[in-house]
């Protein structure tokens, strides 16, 4: 009964949905009907914006989160709790600070009940493989970030998993360290020295995905679903400067901005008010700095996103947030992987501080519905004050509590900059009075 396709598929995700309970009672859908199959011998990337549910999917596969519906199978068996033969590498390393490197690596083997002699041999072999020789008795806090993540890798590899899960494993590292670690890992993989069959990596770094993966699933946000599947046929080691590589990166950028263009509110059907728009917290300083950069040479109002991200040392996710904020405020427009300054944006770049604030305020009122709402409520009430809870409740009808908090934080910071209203953190009260 062993059919060859089934046999080689390590992981089968069919129609998986996942929702989380939300403040207002209704559930928030973060993953919608996701399909994913992983075969032996491939590196698969899940690429998406933050909040696209890719980490949730990874945790479903790791058995840490259960799907709300659909089925998740590992080697033909439904996943219930962490499956054997799957190991995970964490973004934050997740090392036990009170255990030495060796003890950290041995931990997974101890849980499997492997006897101490074999444990030691295997742990030392893993430490050796990943280039941690000589650090066996060090404690994590004595190591640099890169070395710590190597411990994370060794700990996952030592159990000889069929599938290695990686949750943004390089995003907490500086650029150089991350690059070294990536190439080391790919070298080991191509030489067939890793005791694993397949890798699933979650990332929001487009170049990283193209550099490492054989297959990339691009996720869209709210709710998360697979928007596209891209095969990468370039041979390893890959060269970032190779035109085909660049082309691929540009394509993915374009695809992701395309999806991002109509900034979709969290829930369909509320276009009338638009209050339920998630606002990522970006300081007004950063926004005006970006507008100035865009207005000046070499961009002169028109920038290619990968180039801009590179020169500002930002990851794709960060540059998207900035671009979307500018687009929302009608200071710029995102399209086909480019960021183009609008007329208002150009005007903003050449104004003095007070005039900028005025323009900013105007755009806030006109284009950010929640801002208009707050201002209206404050104007209408005889006391000219309103508790934050009044607006938080309204936001939570459309989004999770975390997003509501973040949105409110953004509202306060932008509103203060534009001098639209005052906010007292202690009493959580919006008001119209300004301290004199």
């Amino acid at each position: 009964m062993l059919d060859p396709v089934k046999q080689s598929s390590l992981l089968d995700i069919r129609n998986v949905c996942r929702s989380f309970p939300k403040g207002s009672g209704e559930d928030l859908l973060v993953l919608e009907k996701v399909d994913l199959t992983i075969h032996s011998g491939e590196i698969v990337g899940l690429l998406g914006r933050s909040g696209s549910g890719k980490s949730t999917l990874l945790r479903i596969i790791a058995g840490l989160v259960t799907p709300s519906s659909g089925e998740a199978k590992c080697r033909g068996e439904t996943i219930q709790g962490p499956p054997h033969g799957v190991a995970m590498v964490f973004q934050s390393f997740a090392l036990f600070p009170w255990l030495t490197v060796l003890q950290n690596v041995e931990l997974g083997l101890e849980a499997l009940g492997i006897d101490s002699a074999e444990r030691r041999t295997r742990a030392l072999a893993a430490i050796d493989l990943i280039g941690l020789d000589g650090f066996e008795s060090a404690y994590p806090k004595e190591l640099s970030g890169g070395m710590r993540q190597r411990v994370g890798f060794a700990r996952a590899l030592v159990v000889h998993p069929d599938l290695l899960l990686m949750d943004e494993p390089f995003s907490a590292l500086d650029v150089l360290t991350a690059e070294t670690l990536r190439t080391d890992l790919i070298d080991l993989w191509t030489e067939g020295r890793l005791p694993i069959k397949s890798v699933l990596i979650v990332t929001h770094n487009i170049e990283e995905a193209v550099l490492m993966c054989d297959r990339i699933l691009v996720f869209s946000s709210n709710p998360g679903r697979v928007a596209a599947e891209i095969k990468v046929d370039l041979p390893h080691p890959r060269n970032r400067l190779d035109p085909t590589f660049r082309q691929l990166v540009d394509n993915i950028y374009a695809r992701m901005t395309q999806r991002a263009e109509p900034k979709t509110p969290a829930i369909e059907g509320i276009h009338g008010t638009g209050v339920g728009m998630i606002l990522n917290h970006i300081s007004s300083n950063v926004l005006s700095g970006l507008i100035e950069t865009l207005a000046g040479p070499p961009y002169n109002g028109h920038a290619d996103l990968p180039v801009l991200a590179g020169s500002l040392q930002l990851e794709a996710d960060g540059i998207f947030h900035l671009g979307e904020a500018l687009q929302l405020l009608r200071f710029a427009q995102l399209s086909e992987g480019d960021l183009v300054l609008s007329d208002a944006g150009t005007r903003f770049a050449h104004l003095e501080t007070d005039a900028r604030k005025k323009l900013f305020a105007e755009h806030l009122i006109n284009y950010v519905p929640i801002m208009g709402l707050i201002r209206r409520v404050l104007d209408e009430r005889p006391t000219h004050t309103a508790p934050a809870a009044r607006f938080r409740n309204e936001l939570e009808d459309y989004m999770s509590e975390d997003y509501a908090d973040e949105t409110l934080k953004t509202v306060v910071s932008w509103g203060r900059y534009a001098e639209l209203f005052a906010y007292d953190e202690q009493s959580e009260l919006f008001s119209l009075e300004n301290p004199h």
Partner: protein
């Protein structure tokens, strides 16, 4: 605990003893002999206490000190076991948490010395005619003074285990048991050790107070420093009290150097931080043991056993397991039944209390107790305010001078640990001699031992005050009251509050021994809830003891909820630096 740091070592060389082995061996053997000796005494029949009564001969003091220390040790072991079980239950089961945590909160504010009345009777009945009963009652009193804050600390740590480590242990298939020893306990360790130290400081006070117990007609005097002092007071022998104070000093120093310093230095590795910070705590004792060779080799089998035990694959049977990472929404029906059960048993208990109290007490008794309670409350407030006025400026002055702070900090901590009740007789002598008003002049005794918490917390706060803020203040020419109000006081506020909470809690407890003082035949009594409880205890008047304790419990809880908690929250939110 599988917390050892086992480095691969060549075993042959490891077995050859070195000089450190000899030193360590003597220490270890000495400790064992002392423990066995102390233990033998407790199984003696109660009449032995009458045959060999406590004597004021200073030569007996070392033996008394040993007995006192043993009680402390036993209590701390009980507290740790209690902490592990209670905190684990509360942290892992939502329904248990609903009951256990509020209960703990109330237990924290129960005056321990009032408690003693019931526990003595209970334990004496448990082991009739044996010293063991009285010993256990004493140990239990110390236990009640130590366990609650340790349990709270452990519970809070267990609730705040970093999510990524939790996921890692889950994804590497650690069993529940393994997870507890590998993740929960190590993560809770630094907080637990700090709280254990604080508990010990408080414990000395209660061990001294509970060694000589009188409940109604029963008087039990357990050999120890506390009973030695009690006898000294009775005989008006001031030199003897002096000897006892000296012995206590030495015992506390030894305890700190031989037990806690090594523990703190060892537990440093459990601190949850990703970068190593400047000064790691050190201990000569720990260094000594780390330098021994043979002893370390001998300890290997023990650590192997530890490891084996903590590695046991004990886990919840699958049939009982709820899909762990996120549990199914809890059943409303079971919740309802559980809640109904709690409400029913609570109302039943309340009814029983009412029946018991109303049989002998009238509403006017309640009024008296509440009135006394308010007087004691006023004392606590005034004394905390006075201590604040005195110690905050001094603490800031010391804390801003790092060299001085380094030397003064251990002294302040030591003073906080010293059982102030040993020094009470000295004050009583002064009051009697000059005919002072007991209502006023007994009050300072309440804060005698607890004021140091304010001092050493303020020193800690001032030492941690960022130097760039100080420099900014001086470059802005901030001086005088403006400097105090705008710069320093907000900076040390969270630390001060922590100290003041401990001090005020301790003062309530101390009121039971401080509002009533004796020297020979001379009895001094101040009006207050402490004196109310103390008098009722001495008369064996249980209903009044219950009433007094209940009133004190309510007052302390209200005081904490309405004053200290809001202030603490405010300090943490707005004034915590960095």
């Amino acid at each position: 605990m599988a917390l050892q740091d086992i480095r691969p070592a060549a075993l042959g060389q490891a077995l050859r003893p070195n000089i450190w082995d000899i030193v360590a061996l003597i220490l270890v053997t000495g400790a064992m002999v002392l423990i066995v000796y102390g233990g033998e005494q407790t199984t003696a029949p109660l009449s032995a206490l009458d045959v060999a009564p406590v004597s004021l001969d200073p030569a007996n003091l070392p033996a008394y000190a040993l007995r006192t220390t043993m009680r402390m040790l036993l209590a701390i072991v009980c507290s740790i076991i209690f902490t592990f079980i209670y905190a684990a239950l509360a942290a892992k089961s939502r329904r248990a948490e609903m009951v256990l945590i509020p209960l703990l909160d109330i237990l924290q504010s129960v005056p321990i010395l009032g408690f003693l009345t019931f526990t003595v009777v209970f334990f004496m009945n448990l082991f009739p005619g044996r010293v063991l009963g009285a010993e256990l009652a004493c140990v239990f009193a110390i236990f009640t003074s130590q366990a609650w804050n340790m349990t709270f600390s452990m519970y809070q740590s267990m609730r705040n285990v970093p999510k990524d480590l939790e996921e890692a242990s889950q994804s590497f298939h650690l069993s529940g048991w393994q997870r507890f020893w590998r993740l929960d306990v190590p993560f809770a360790m630094p907080g637990l050790i700090w709280n254990t130290m604080m508990s010990m400081s408080g414990g000395w006070f209660f061990v001294v107070a509970s060694e000589a117990i009188t409940v109604g007609n029963t008087t039990v005097t357990l050999p120890g420093i506390g009973s030695y002092v009690a006898l000294g007071i009775q005989k008006q022998n001031l030199p003897a009290i002096g000897y006892a104070i000296l012995t206590m000093l030495l015992v506390i120093i030894a305890y700190d150097q031989l037990l806690f310093r090594p523990l703190v230095a060892w537990a440093d590795k459990f601190r949850f931080e990703q970068t190593s910070s400047g000064n790691a705590p050190t201990s000569w004792m720990l260094d000594l043991f780390r330098r021994t060779r043979a002893l370390r080799a001998l300890s290997l089998p023990f650590s192997a056993l530890n490891k084996a035990v903590s590695n046991l694959q004990i886990s919840v049977p699958d049939s009982l397991k709820i899909a762990s990472a996120e549990k199914r929404p809890p059943s409303r029906i079971v919740d309802g039944i559980w809640l109904a059960l709690i409400v029913t048993s609570t109302s039943y208990a309340a009814f029983e209390i009412y029946l018991y109290l109303s049989a002998t007490l009238s509403p006017s008794d309640v009024l008296t107790a509440v009135g006394d309670g308010l007087i004691t409350l006023a004392r606590v407030v005034v004394l905390i305010a006075l201590a604040t006025l005195i110690w905050v400026p001094i603490g800031v002055w010391i804390g801003l001078r790092p060299k001085l702070a380094e030397r003064m900090q251990p002294l302040a901590q030591f003073l906080a640990a010293f059982p102030a009740n040993l020094a009470f007789p000295v004050f009583v002598v002064v009051i009697v001699r000059y005919g002072l008003n007991a209502n006023v002049w007994l009050s300072p005794l309440m804060i005698l031992g607890t004021q140091w918490y304010i001092l050493f917390n303020v020193i800690a706060g001032a030492s941690a005050f960022p130097s760039d803020l100080r420099e900014a203040a001086s470059s802005l020419h901030l001086k005088g009251w403006r400097w105090w109000v705008k710069v320093v006081l907000p900076g040390i506020f969270p630390y001060y509050i922590t100290g003041a909470i401990t001090a005020s809690g301790g003062s309530w407890n101390a009121s039971i021994v401080a509002e009533v003082a004796k020297l020979g035949q001379c009895h001094l009594t101040a009006t207050g809830l402490g004196a109310y409880i103390a008098t009722a205890t001495e008369n064996g008047d249980f209903p009044r003891v219950v009433l007094g304790i209940a009133i004190m419990c309510i007052l302390v809880t209200l005081f904490n909820r309405l004053l200290w908690r809001p202030l603490y929250a405010f300090g943490e939110r707005r004034l915590r630096l960095g």
